[in-house]
């Protein structure tokens, strides 16, 4: 269920790493080893093939966040960490769900999909598969509404984020590169 962290505990870290084997395992095992929880995580190559960007949403207090950032910095392949302020960044996530339909309510579901500008990806006798790309909050709302019809399967990608362009100092590069 979409229990996204409350705003005070919701932190987006955008971590630029060297694109090398095992980097994701290193980041993940650091979180496990130090007892930090990852809320969502997305990894993809950047415009420069030497680097990948890992977008991590964590659900922690500020002081713990500081330790996470410092510990992450100690990983040799971590090049830069920015904490993206949710207010000053754009976040996107992709969502896919298969929803049960009895034929009668199919129209309602399609209508709902239209309102949200979701796509119908597949139609079956008693089910529909939908996809929606958007802000995580929008996805939360959509998911909530679909739940009433019976979600058979659901998959979300975890969010990715970039700073908004219309403000300066949109991302706060976290200082203190580690030893």
């Amino acid at each position: 269920m979409s229990t996204y962290p409350t705003p005070q505990r919701h932190h987006i870290l955008s971590v630029l790493v060297q694109n090398k084997a095992g980097v994701l395992a290193r980041v993940a095992s650091l979180f496990a080893r130090r007892g930090y929880n990852i809320f969502s995580l997305a990894v993809a190559p950047t415009e420069d093939p030497q680097f990948s960007r890992i977008t991590i949403v964590v659900d922690v207090e500020g002081t713990t966040l500081e330790q996470i950032v410092k510990q992450l910095f100690k990983l040799i392949e971590v090049v830069r960490i920015s904490e993206l302020d949710p207010q000053k960044s754009v976040e996107r996530e992709l969502f896919m769900a298969t929803v049960r339909t009895d034929g009668e309510n199919r129209g309602q579901i399609v209508e709902l999909a239209n309102i949200f500008e979701a796509k119908v990806l597949a139609v079956g006798v008693d089910a529909l598969t939908l996809s929606l790309e958007g802000s995580p909050e929008k996805l939360d709302d959509f998911e909530e509404l679909l739940r009433g019809y019976g979600i058979v399967e659901l998959q979300r990608t975890g969010r990715i984020a970039l700073p908004k362009l219309d403000r300066e100092a949109h991302s706060r590069a976290v200082k203190g590169k580690a030893s």
Binding site: A21, V78, A178, S179
Partner: protein, 582 residues
């Protein structure tokens, strides 16, 4: 010119000025042992890979140079796990090379395959699986660079067999190439000038300052400048278990070791302090006791090269990320400037006399043995200390004997104390002493071990005999897992569970002799000094002295795990003076 990966590996180690390595061959690493035959590097063949790791640590402790261990894949790599973790916890520079199955076999559960990089990920500063011979020289250069700069630590390089066998064109990467290959690695060494100024001001204003020295002072070779700071302002000093020797115990400002088994003066001075100047120390739970009750009135200046140590346990008022030596030099400068500019230091004479009062009232103390009664372990240590040649290096295992070693030795020089602090690894001392002796053959090396610890890695004395490494081992043999027994006595109502080592077996003298050492057994106080003198006079082989000591002796003072440092348990003879600790 084309050479094999194996030749490149050995050549790269030579280029890194490696003079000795500790290792054990086997299937996957075999190709590397062939070019080793022609190499200038001395290879010491151990009896267990754990020994190789601890030897590399001992070597690094006393020389400041990275220790090198090389072993094969699978079980050999897993045998290296304990020393890697030990080196990680104590920030010891070390480079480990492990063989791996061929690249084509990786992931197939091939013979002696294990996920070495996965297993050691969280206990190394960095590790890497090298997938092509071409990459080997850079990987080795990076490993030495990472192990020795910033906060030092172990780095592991995992090398598949075919990578060792394949041929490559030799290229030794330049400093620039190494830098460029590590875009995310730039340790901060210079402290922030504003913070340094701030620290200097606090130090002058403090009325109850304490210099809290940790292992980082030794790592950064800062002992001299730290001493200048202490002497300039007459600030009392405590040296943690990892920093023994960083400040002379004989110095009037030295209060000794803080922490769970620290001196009452060191523990109490920290508790009552209004300013702790932590240099290369990490507020370990063994030092702080119950964190919320630790040094509640103290402001904190925290100098550490690892930013993650700042605020990890205790939030500093003045955090300074940087190399202890460089930062201390700047702090000293700032202090002198302030003093030259007319600033005056607060009067700390009352504080100093309080500290010396604690020292006088609460010296380390034990009851000497009654005539005819069993030997006291502390007495044995005092005797070894008093007969030790100048500059002797002391190495210890983990347990009561470790605490007594740290307490009763007089450390007056840096790099004369080697022990396993963070991980508390039983079995550390014999191999670490061998590594230390290899690093400093000019020095006498005494390992103080418990009878429990000794039985974990004693077989490395065979290595010492065969490779001509004449260390001395003093076993404080109480026929118990003494430290655990002490906890059971004090905190589990004297219910002794699985701590009796079955006194009498093994016969340590015979065992020593079987391993090519001289074995000496000591039962009574009169035999102690002659045995030590004899041990000190033997330099052509290792010596093991089996001191049969009192079984029920306890280590004091003690702060129980999780208790406040205010509730320090004193030796029984000092209990009635307890109120002086205020």
């Amino acid at each position: 010119m084309k050479i094999t990966g194996a030749e490149a590996l050995i050549k790269a180690l030579e280029m890194e000025s490696v003079d000795v390595m500790f290792g054990y061959p086997g299937g996957c690493i075999l190709p590397a042992y062939d070019p080793l035959l022609k190499s200038s590097i001395r290879h010491i063949l151990v009896r267990h890979e754990q020994g190789a790791g601890h030897m590399a640590e001992g070597y690094a402790h006393v020389t400041g140079r990275p220790g090198v261990a090389m072993v094969t894949s699978g079980p050999a790599a897993t045998n290296l796990v304990t020393p890697l973790c030990d080196a990680y916890m104590d920030s010891i520079p070390m480079v480990a090379i492990t063989g791996q199955v061929s690249t084509t076999a990786i992931g197939t559960d091939a013979f002696q395959e294990c996920d070495t990089v996965g297993i050691t990920r969280s206990i190394t500063k960095h590790n890497e699986l090298v997938m092509s011979a071409e990459d080997l020289p850079l990987a080795i250069r990076q490993a030495f660079h990472i192990a020795t700069t910033g906060r030092p630590g172990p780095v592991l390089i995992d090398v598949p067999k075919d990578v060792l066998q394949n041929s490559m064109t030799w290229h030794w990467p330049t400093d620039e190439e190494v830098q460029a290959s590590l875009p995310g690695y730039h340790p901060t060494t210079k402290g922030h000038p504003r913070m340094i100024k701030e620290a200097a001001k606090l130090m002058l204003a403090a009325q109850r300052p304490v210099l809290y020295l940790g292992g980082g002072v030794l790592k950064s070779r800062a002992a001299e400048v730290v001493r200048e700071i202490a002497e300039l302002l007459n600030i009392p000093v405590v040296t943690t278990l990892m920093a023994r020797g960083a400040f002379p115990d004989s110095h009037p400002l030295c209060l000794g070791m803080p922490g769970m088994h620290g001196t009452a003066a060191a523990v109490t001075a920290m508790q009552k302090s209004d300013l702790l100047i932590a240099l290369g120390a990490r507020f370990d739970d063994r030092v702080t006791g119950k964190v919320s009750a630790f040094a509640q009135e103290a402001k904190i200046i925290h100098v550490d090269i690892d930013p993650a140590e700042q605020g990890k346990v205790r939030r500093p008022d003045v955090p300074i990320v940087g190399d202890c030596k460089l930062v201390s030099i700047e702090i000293l400068k700032a202090l002198r400037e302030l003093l030259d500019g007319g600033e005056v230091q607060a009067d700390i004479a009352p504080w100093r006399s309080r500290c010396s009062g604690w020292q006088e009232q609460f010296p380390l103390a034990y009851e000497p043995s009654a005539p005819g009664a069993a030997l006291k372990p502390q007495f044995c240590l005092e005797q070894i200390r008093d007969h030790a040649p100048e500059g002797t290096i002391l190495v210890s295992g983990v347990g009561q004997h470790q605490m007594w070693s740290s307490q009763y030795w007089h450390f007056d020089e840096p790099y004369t104390w080697v022990n396993s602090g963070g991980l508390g690894t039983m079995g550390f001392s014999v191999p670490a002493a061998i590594g230390a002796k290899v690093g400093r053959p000019d020095k006498t090396v005494w390992a103080i071990d418990g009878d429990g610890c000794f039985q974990m890695t004693a077989q490395e004395l065979i290595t010492a005999s065969i490779s001509n490494i004449p260390i001395k081992v003093g076993i404080l043999n109480n026929s118990y897992l003494g430290m655990v027994r002490q906890w059971q006595e004090m905190f589990y109502g004297e219910r002794y569970s699985e701590v009796d080592l079955g006194g009498g077996i093994p016969d340590f003298v015979k065992w020593a002799e079987a391993m090519g050492c001289v074995g000496i057994r000591v039962d009574s106080p009169e035999e102690v000094a002659p045995a030590i003198e004899r041990a000190n006079s033997i330099n052509d082989r290792p010596v093991v002295v089996d001191f049969r000591v009192e079984e029920f002796e306890k280590v004091f003072p003690m702060v129980a795990a999780g208790a406040s440092n205010d509730d320090i348990i004193l030796p029984p003879s000092q209990n009635e003076r307890r109120e002086y600790l205020r």
